[in-house]
């Protein structure tokens, strides 16, 4: 099947029940999206499908025909970071940063839909993403900073 990722099309030869995360990581070598739980419970694998956040570890290939997928690798434009990425750097939000790609994708989607979210709206939108290092308060600050840019 043909898969559209970050504006590029890829011919992918895989089972329709294969999960998107494995295909991204192992076949397309797009390893920015991370495996954390395999059951859509931690958000490390979050990508955007037609602009909406989705857990790629529980998204099967069969559901993706004709859809636009955006991963962390697709956020940078002409070497310029997305405002959410910039804000994460400015606030120096993360520790081990393994959750960062998923966090950033969830935040990008949130700000697309709600450019000036309240703190409660941020918590609600981000609650599916786990940061085991416990950097949550800094991630909230980063999203607030990005919303002002």
């Amino acid at each position: 099947m043909v898969l559209t990722v970050n504006g590029k099309t890829y011919e992918v030869n895989t089972d329709p029940d294969a999960d998107l995360l494995s295909v991204l990581r192992n076949e397309l070598q797009l390893t920015g999206s991370k495996y954390g739980c395999g059951e859509g419970a931690c958000g490390a694998c979050t990508v955007l499908i037609n602009g909406k956040p989705a857990r790629s570890c529980i998204t099967t290939m069969a559901t993706l025909a004709g859809k636009d997928i955006t991963t962390i690798e697709g956020l940078e434009t002409n070497g310029k970071l997305h405002p959410v990425q910039m804000a994460c750097l400015t606030t120096d939000a993360f520790q081990c940063s393994y959750c960062a790609p998923g966090m950033i994708m969830s935040a990008v989607s949130l700000l697309d839909q709600n450019p000036s979210p309240t703190e409660a709206a941020i918590v609600s939108a981000m609650n599916g993403n786990i940061c085991r290092c416990g950097t949550y308060p800094y991630i909230i600050k980063a999203i607030q900073l990005a919303s002002q840019s």
Binding site: G36, G38, E39, N129, R132
Partner: protein, 722 residues
């Protein structure tokens, strides 16, 4: 009390996890070293004063040092790049940044010219300094001294070149300049054509923390852009040409043994390599789906062991199977404990229960192994690269020089990645397949086959007089560990014991080791004692303390929190504190408990003193992360198990803190520039659980003595009560 210059790994291993002292000798061979690094100036930190050993300022050619004596290298190349070689590893604590700051400070070079080479056993000195005894100098100190030695050597080289006195010269922004500002030479120019290898004098003068320009400042993560773009290659992201994906067939339960193993169906699949060697049954295939398919095709009959305990009877089990006092971290008994208890105005006796919890590093164990001409190279996320090198060398009967372990910056550990399981598995498969093999554990494997923070039972008996004097302190810890058992509160008599037990689950170190459990019991008991004599929790602690730094953190936290302020109805205040690894922590919590006994933590204020602060924001992140991780173990994290199986081995069934769980958190950092910097990754976790517990006691009079305290959000329903 521990020496204040004791700075272990950010998440200290337990004694049985310590790497063997290396027996091989690291040759301080000048030619060999410079062949690898190019010419320039190199400074080696050695643990003994080699200047007196060598009798001069340079080492004899081929001087042989036990590799445990070499702590770190700093090399200044002809391009002016400062390479720092250290066995420390980056697991998110941002040590790559703070060690860079320390070197930049002493050498007077821009941060950008520093390259940290970390956790690569072929390149860095054996990391004896990391897990050593209390007297082993810590890495920060070693690098500070090595960098200061290099700076002094560069000044002397410039003085010689200009034929002037070294007194009028100083280092500035990667150059040596004279004070008048008329002469300037770049480090790289000075070291060009040189092959100078210097040992560090332990007596070298370093810059005082009060004069720091780069250290002591908030500097962002040095390679931060790689992480926010998803470009940093974690081990699980790495690939090699021709690489296979490995999968291990796990037993259905702990202690299960394979009786009959049939690999034939798996081997019939194209491209599949399968291995059965004792209890190790595994496959490798060109893609992960084929590997999973092959795993399912393996036919095994298992023999299970009946009668393994569950989380419902674990506490009775641990007490029943307890052994003799470990005498580790346990202070000597003092005074007459029987008399102390008998003579007290009030007697206190409580039993505390600590459930097993999991580290849940977001990146599960992963390893990539490759054999080339009899040499094994493994990339793996481990907190002990040299420990894993040891394990691999033993298993494959290789000289350690034939095993290279590399540790790219890893998706966290929290004390849970001291072992090398995935590395061994990948190496075994790779040896059989004759191709590189990568193994990435699933979350279920990580929950089940890694190791856990020990469960335990703690019995506290104490006596207290009306005036607040503690007459007796008896403390028995079953299984969870001896770390942090010593009390700093004055007592007339004491008896403190740690009794290891026969843990049915694989257990190991965790952030703060057993200090989390021991401080929970101690600080809960302290508040209960205060309540017995109607004394304020804070006042009771202050009355019984003599350590100025402990007193200072308690007061700082209480002031910032508003300890004496009026509370709304239904709200409770709790306080707790402790000391560990040269750090002092005090935590205040405000909770609200409604009529259904539902508990909500509203806010937390924590004061923290770890000596001179190297990077304020990164320190605050460590403290914040500790509080939040500690919140999980305090309120709801618990591993459930029965019949040798983990019953909640996933993130939908094992609850860790999320955004919505986080109260308002205020952190007060105390910068003690007059004190050496201590490690800060552990002690900050110990205050949160007892502070919350004591706040619940304050408002509702309920003593929650089991961790986690409110797995269902409601006080008085602790799980797995023994």
């Amino acid at each position: 009390m521990k020496s204040s210059d004791y700075s272990p790994h950010p998440f200290e291993p337990t004694d049985d996890e310590l790497p063997q002292q290396s027996s091989i000798h690291f040759m301080m061979d000048r030619r060999k070293f410079f062949k690898a690094t190019g010419g320039g100036l190199a400074v080696a930190f050695v643990l003994y004063d080699m200047l007196s050993y060598a009798g001069e300022n340079t080492l004899a050619e081929n001087a042989s040092l036990s590799d445990s004596q070499v702590g770190a290298w700093i090399h200044i190349g002809e391009d002016g790049i400062v390479s720092v070689f250290t066995g420390k590893v980056e697991v998110g604590q941002n040590i790559r940044t703070s060690l860079s700051q320390i070197v930049a400070e002493e050498l007077m070079v821009p941060m950008a010219s520093i390259k940290m080479i970390m956790g690569d056993t072929d390149q860095v000195p054996y990391d004896a300094g990391t897990y050593g005894s209390l007297t082993t100098p810590k890495m920060g100190t070693q690098l500070r001294k090595a960098a200061a030695t290099a700076r002094q050597a560069l000044i002397e080289m410039a003085a010689k070149q200009w034929n002037v006195s070294a007194d009028g010269l100083k280092a500035e922004n990667g150059s040596i300049v004279n004070v008048a500002g008329s002469q300037k030479i770049f480090f790289g120019k000075l070291t060009a054509g040189q092959q100078l290898l210097l040992p560090v004098s332990d007596k070298v003068k370093v810059i005082s923390a009060s004069d720091w320009q780069v250290a002591g400042k908030t500097i962002p993560k040095v390679n931060g852009r790689l992480f926010v773009t998803g470009k940093h290659p974690y081990v699980s992201d790495m690939n090699l040409p021709g690489m296979l994906y490995g999968k291990v067939l796990r037993p259905p339960a702990y202690q299960a043994k394979p009786l009959k193993v049939d690999l034939s169906k798996a081997l019939a699949i194209k491209g599949v390599v399968a291995v059965h060697d004792g209890n190790f049954i595994a496959v490798a295939a060109p893609d992960i789906r084929t590997a999973n398919k092959a795993l399912h095709e393996i036919n095994v009959s298992w023999q299970e062991t009946a009668g393994q305990p569950s989380h419902k009877n674990i506490f009775e089990y641990l007490v029943k199977y307890a052994g003799a006092n470990s005498n580790r971290n346990t202070p000597a008994a003092q005074g007459d404990i029987v008399k102390g208890l008998a003579s007290a105005n009030f007697k206190y006796s409580q039993t505390y229960h600590i459930n097993y919890i999991a580290h849940v590093p977001l990146e599960p164990r992963a390893a990539l192994a490759q054999w080339t001409d009899g040499k094994l190279t493994v990339w793996t996320g481990t907190q002990r690269p040299f420990g894993v090198q040891n394990e691999l060398a033993e298993i494959f009967k290789l000289d350690k020089e034939k095993v290279r372990v590399m540790m790219p910056d890893t998706g966290s550990g929290y004390g849970g990645k001291h072992s090398g399981e995935a590395a061994i598995e990948a190496a075994r498969l790779s040896q059989a397949a004759k191709k590189p093999v990568k193994i990435v554990w699933t979350r279920e494997e990580e929950f089940t086959w890694a190791y856990l923070r020990p469960g335990g039972v703690i019995e506290v008996e104490a006596g207290v007089d009306k005036d607040g004097s503690i007459t007796a302190w008896k403390f028995i810890n079953y299984n969870s560990g001896g770390a942090g058992q010593s009390t700093q509160y004055k007592t007339v008599s004491q008896q403190i014991t740690h009794l290891p037990s026969n843990s049915p689950l694989k257990q190991g170190s965790y952030r703060g080791l057993a200090t989390v459990a021991n401080v929970f019991a101690r600080e809960s008991a302290m508040t209960d004692l205060a309540r017995l004599i109607n004394m304020d929790q804070l006042a009771f602690r202050l009355k019984n303390l003599e350590d100025d730094r402990f007193i200072a953190v308690l007061k700082k936290a209480a002031d910032a929190f508003g300890w004496g302020d009026n509370k709304p109805a239904g709200h409770g205040f709790g306080i707790a504190g402790g000391f560990e690894k040269g750090d002092y922590v005090a935590c205040c919590a405000e909770v609200v408990v409604n009529n259904n006994r539902e508990v909500k933590v509203l806010r937390v204020v924590q004061a923290f003193d770890c000596g001179a602060i190297v990077n304020p924001h990164h320190l605050e992140s460590q403290v914040m992360g500790s509080i939040i991780q500690g919140l999980g173990g305090a309120l709801f994290e618990a591993v459930e198990f029965a019949n040798g199986r983990i019953l909640n081995p996933g993130l939908s069934s094992y609850r860790v803190p999320r955004f919505s769980d986080i109260p308002k958190i205020e952190i007060v950092l105390i910068d003690r520039k007059d004190m050496p910097s201590a490690g800060a990754g552990e002690a900050a976790i110990i205050g949160i659980a007892p502070a919350i517990r004591n706040a619940i006691a304050d408002v509702a009079g309920i003593a929650l003595n089991t961790l986690p305290m409110v797995p269902n959000g409601v006080a008085n329903s602790p799980i797995a009560k023994g």
